[in-house]
């Protein structure tokens, strides 16, 4: 008989012994672990949010200095919209609204294009099979992981080259502007939309589409009546994500806008070059709130149960 089964035999009917010392030690480890788990999120969130909290708090600070908090005021928010800013700066509400409207236009067009293309990419990745699909699947994440500065520079070089060739071919000179920014933004937001839509699509029961075909719906009606309505929350979520990313983007915009086209982040950066003013804090706070709301909606749409619609 093997030694292990021998010892098993011996344990049958033996009185239970508990090592109290070891039990005490193990219970202590468990307590420490529980306390650690409780404080872990507190520390993490502190690191994440402390700088932003400071920004928000000082956007309401009465004093111009960032060193002391003297009292609450809404002056800086008012200043943004009345064009009054630190005496030395070239601020005007008109320029601010100009850059904001640029941002919104770019955001809407980017969202529209990248939502359509991103959804198509997701469909093709989940619902069909072709050579190189796995490669495409991997490359899809590239824009998510490669440094944005690389993207910005590569787009700038790309457009430069393109415009040069165009000039050689037609003699026409093209210039960067809103359109190049939109192309740049579409290029990196497609991935985000595709990833979100694909997750939902992969989660969706393929029997639902089969059921539709079984009941007499051709491929187009199956998409329109079943696939699309069930994907819609993910498509909207992906779209909101694209919109937020486009609205907040600085680097890609900076490299593709050329001179004379400002978006809100680029405009704020321009102000910052002069001095950090409380008005910048106020503008930034508004941007934080707007982005948070959009991302919140996006997340809640993604979180919806894929089988419940």
């Amino acid at each position: 008989m093997a030694p292990s089964s021998q010892s098993l035999n011996q344990s049958a009917g033996r009185a239970i012994e508990i090592n109290t010392g070891r039990l005490q030690r193990d219970l202590l480890i468990r307590r420490i672990g529980k306390i650690g788990l409780y404080f872990n999120p507190v520390f993490s969130f502190f690191f994440l949010w402390a700088p932003i909290a400071v920004l928000v708090v000082f956007s309401f600070n009465e004093s111009r200095s960032v060193a002391t908090f003297t009292g609450i005021t809404l002056d800086w928010y008012v200043n943004i919209f009345t064009g009054v800013l630190g005496a030395e700066s070239a601020f005007s509400t008109e320029l601010l609204l100009d850059s904001l409207s640029n941002s919104l236009i770019i955001g809407f067009i980017t969202t529209l294009i990248s939502t359509v293309i991103g959804t198509m990419v997701a469909m093709s990745l989940v619902r069909s099979d072709y050579p190189g699909k796995r490669l495409l699947d991997g490359v899809l994440y590239l824009p998510v992981v490669i440094p944005e500065i690389t993207q910005g520079i590569s787009l700038a070089v790309f457009f430069n080259m393109l415009f040069d060739y165009w000039n050689m071919l037609t003699g026409q000179r093209l210039y960067p502007g809103l359109h190049t920014v939109v192309i740049g933004h579409v290029a990196f937001t497609i991935s985000f939309v595709a990833v979100v839509v694909r997750a939902r699509l992969a989660d969706m029961n393929p029997r639902l589409e089969e059921a539709a075909r079984d009941l007499g719906a051709n491929e187009w009606r199956t998409f329109r009546e079943v696939t699309f309505p069930l994907l819609l929350p993910a498509i909207i979520a992906g779209g909101l994500l694209a919109f937020t990313l486009s609205l907040d983007d600085f680097l890609v915009t900076f490299f593709t806008a050329g001179s004379g086209t400002n978006t809100l982040p680029v405009f704020v950066y321009g102000l910052l070059k002069l001095t950090v003013t409380p008005e910048i804090n106020a503008i930034s706070t508004i941007m934080v709130v707007a982005s948070t709301v959009l991302i919140g909606i996006s997340l809640s749409l993604q979180g919806r149960n894929a089988t419940r619609g």
């Binding site: 050579p131 029997r207 639902l208 059921a211 075909r213 079984d214 009941l215 007499g216 009546e225 089988t307």
Partner: protein, 378 residues
Amino acid sequence: MAVYDIELRHLVKEFGGAERGKRGYQVRAVDDVNLQIEQGEFFALLGPSGCGKTTTLRMIAGFEHPTSGEILISGRPVQNIPAFHRPVNTVFQDYALFPHMTVFQNVLFGLRMEGTPRTVAAQRVEEALDMVKLGHLAQRKPSQLSGGQQQRVALARALVKRPAVLLLDEPLGALDLKLRKEMQLELKTMQQRVGITFIFVTHDQEEAMTMANRIAVMHNGKVLQMGTARQIYEHPGTRFVADFIGETNFIEGDLVARQAGAGTVKLPDATLIEAQLPPDWSADSGTVTLAVRPERMGIVPEGEEADMPKMPLSVLTGMLVEMNYIGTDTRYTVRLFDRLDIAVREQNVDYEENYDFRVGQTVKIFFPLASASILHRD
């Protein structure tokens, strides 16, 4: 030639290989299946998971394209007709109800795709929902229904299209045991009422025997045997079928003589046993496998042979190694030839009057000629 509702001719489905452009990796999920199913039949495709039964059903529905062979629906080849043009409808294992539509909209869907006028369609949907007794839940979403109710909606959604054939893929698999038994009878009643041919896929032999007129037992992509529940249970053709349908004892022996429909088998302890031969048997000698159902055997202690019924019997001697009381029956395990364990089941009609068996004692087990069959090799 007779026209069948469904006819499968040399149907083959291979996965992998050519489809993915890779060599060497190929699975024959369905291997030369031939079936003829008549109008109004309740037909079961029975087999363990991976035997090809679901793939066969999916080819009839049009979700998979056969590698070769023909599918005929009412005499018409359909392998190049897409699912949405075939006169068959499917009840899916997980029901596949559209989660964003109400029960009413789910059932209406198929008629909407046909372009049935709205008022006619609405009336037919109501009829279908009444038939499955769900008229009062028409405005609910599928997620607000129980499993059994969802199952009925799936049934109504398929039947409202008035298909030539209804396909059911493990329709009761997700229900608990009690509800499953209820739904088995309900499905059977419904099938008799609407008169539509039902083909259903299951791995549950009891379910197949309860509901189906005819059963095809599948294994490794092939149909091993086809027939009524009684034919398959009483005369299993192969060892796999005998083992899969109910419980069976297998005893190896040598075929020493052959008469009309029966053969004499010599067992390792030199006992001679008479057993039934399959109709298409050809060999005159060689090693064969005998199958005997546990409930077709009797058991008595050694020395009590006088209590055995007065009829021609095969009698084997062995040692009782285990005895389990399981309510309706008592199950005895008897060791033959010092190595082969045989199960014997006796009904506890009057348990108090049974012999006082003890584990370790020598016993006699007996069975009539008709209870032992010789099997084909798989």
